[in-house]
């Protein structure tokens, strides 16, 4: 980090803030709650109890982890902006990139820790290798979500609006494949200008959003060794998209007159 002094310190403090604050407690509490619900579902199932429990828990944990990480990142950045901590930090002899990259590294570590905690209960229900592949995918997804939350907080500056934007980004990224399937249906007035315009708009949006519909599917827990074949494409998507989000945050951060 010789080119970006202060990066590791900012990263460390971002992580320490999460671990000392209520986030760590919230992650554990939600993971326990999810496990409790899964065990309850198992009591109701007549057959395939482990599959029902594992699938429901994976879907729940994925959503809960994303929500927790997003809310932590956005509230942390907002608090820093409100307390004038950001201005104080930038008054030091460190480049603005150090702040963004440092925060990104800290939140990446936080995302991976959250993925680890949310993965652990799944080992009760599903094979370890499948849980591992699912967990890696979840860690990549949470990292991108954290980066999106960081970029939105820095660009927008208002926590409620940032939360809304990240929620829209996450939801659309997850359901875009289904939306595209519906818009490509041949039944109905596909020649109408509104349908064509919407089709182009959705196609353009799909090109810009990450393919979260391919990440951390609960069905992977029962796919055997084939589950690993999903990961290379996800890694490429991650390697492309993380710099994009970091680039957006950096671009706006340098543009701003702080």
């Amino acid at each position: 980090m010789s080119y970006l002094p202060g990066t590791s310190t900012i990263a460390r403090f971002a992580l320490v803030e999460a671990l000392r604050g209520k986030l760590a407690l919230a992650v554990v509490a939600v993971a326990v709650l999810g496990l409790g619900v899964a065990l309850f579902l198992g009591e109701m199932a007549i057959t395939e109890a482990a599959r029902i429990q594992g699938t429901a828990l994976a879907a729940f944990n994925r959503m809960a982890a994303a929500l927790l990480v997003v809310s932590f990142v956005i509230s942390g950045i907002s608090r820093e902006q409100a307390d004038k901590g950001l201005e104080m930090l930038l008054a030091q002899a460190i480049p603005r990139a150090s702040y963004v990259i440092g925060k990104l590294i800290g939140y990446t570590l936080l995302a991976w820790l959250a993925a680890l905690v949310f993965c652990a209960p799944l080992l009760i229900f599903a094979p370890a290798l499948n849980v591992a592949a699912w967990g890696i995918s979840l860690a990549l997804e949470l990292t991108l979500v954290a980066a999106a939350a960081l970029a939105c907080s820095l660009v927008i500056g208002q926590s409620a609006l940032s939360m809304l934007m990240v929620a829209a980004f996450y939801t659309l990224s997850r359901v875009m494949a289904s939306i595209l399937a519906i818009t490509s249906s041949p039944v109905g007035s596909i020649g109408s200008p509104s349908f064509k315009t919407m089709g182009w708009f959705m196609g353009g949006l799909a090109a810009l959003l990450p393919g979260f519909d391919r990440f951390a599917s609960a069905a992977w827990l029962w796919e055997g060794s084939a589950v690993w074949s999903h990961l290379p494409a996800l890694l490429i998507q991650f390697v492309i998209y993380l710099p994009l989000l970091a680039g957006v945050a950096l671009f706006d951060f340098y543009r701003k007159d702080l």
Partner: protein, 230 residues
């Protein structure tokens, strides 16, 4: 603005666009239609917006036969599941006409009598649940039975159902009269004559031209019946 920041943003944006084009969001191969979710789970997952969810289910089902990269002929679709989906959609949104249109005019056009009959039976069952709002689909089912399946008894059964259950004044007279002509086509002149006579006597036909036309048909049936009857 540092040049590396601009370069990172531009390159990442370019790579993301290229990656999306190289690896489109498609699912290779045909996906089976799953069982529809239960009404209770839909109510929970849609935060009690079940009608809105039902509308989306219409589009999801409709999109199933045209999955990205492939277009499935209707005869390759699982009609048992399609029926289950259509039934669930109607359960959530009873005033919606979309599932009945899909059953009678979309999935009912399949070139397979077994599947076609399944859709027609579905339409009839759902028609009986709300005859005055769903009569048009029953009328279309009678048309399909008569002209596509060439099953006159089935068409007459549908038309009879229309006459007996679709009693609202909103239902046009031609729909209630359909059975008469179908019975005549089946050479059931006595039945047709009785039905037509009862219709004229009931006073439901108020248009003079229509009355004259139907009376003419009654005379024609009387002639065909002959002195010994059929």
């Amino acid at each position: 603005m540092p040049i590396p920041v601009v370069l990172i943003l531009a390159c990442a944006l370019l790579w993301q666009t290229i990656w999306s084009a190289m690896y489109p969001r498609t699912h290779p191969g045909a996906e089976d239609l799953t069982e529809p979710p239960s009404a209770a789970s839909i109510r929970v997952s849609s935060l009690d917006e079940s009608v809105a969810y039902a509308k989306l289910m219409n589009l999801t089902l409709q999109a199933h036969d045209n999955q990205p990269g492939i277009s499935l002929p209707f005869r390759h679709l699982d009609y048992v599941r399609i029926e289950a989906w259509l039934g669930r959609i109607l359960e959530l949104d009873p005033t919606g006409q979309y599932p009945l249109l899909a059953a009678s005019r979309l999935y009912g056009t399949v070139d397979d009598p077994v599947r076609q009959r399944r859709m027609l039976d579905f339409v009839q069952r759902q028609f009986l649940a709300d005859p005055n709002q769903r009569w048009q689909w029953m009328a279309h089912a009678a048309y399909v039975a008569r002209h596509q399946l060439r099953d006159l008894p089935l068409a007459a059964r549908f038309a009879e159902s229309l006459r007996l259950h679709a009693t609202s004044r909103q239902v046009p007279a031609w729909a209630r009269q359909m059975e008469i002509f179908l019975r005549a086509d089946m050479n059931e002149f006595d039945t047709a004559r009785v039905l037509l006579g009862a219709l004229l006597a009931s006073g439901q036909v108020t248009d003079p031209s229509e009355y004259r036309f139907l009376a003419g048909r009654l005379t024609e049936l009387e002639t065909r019946r002959g002195p010994a009857g059929k």
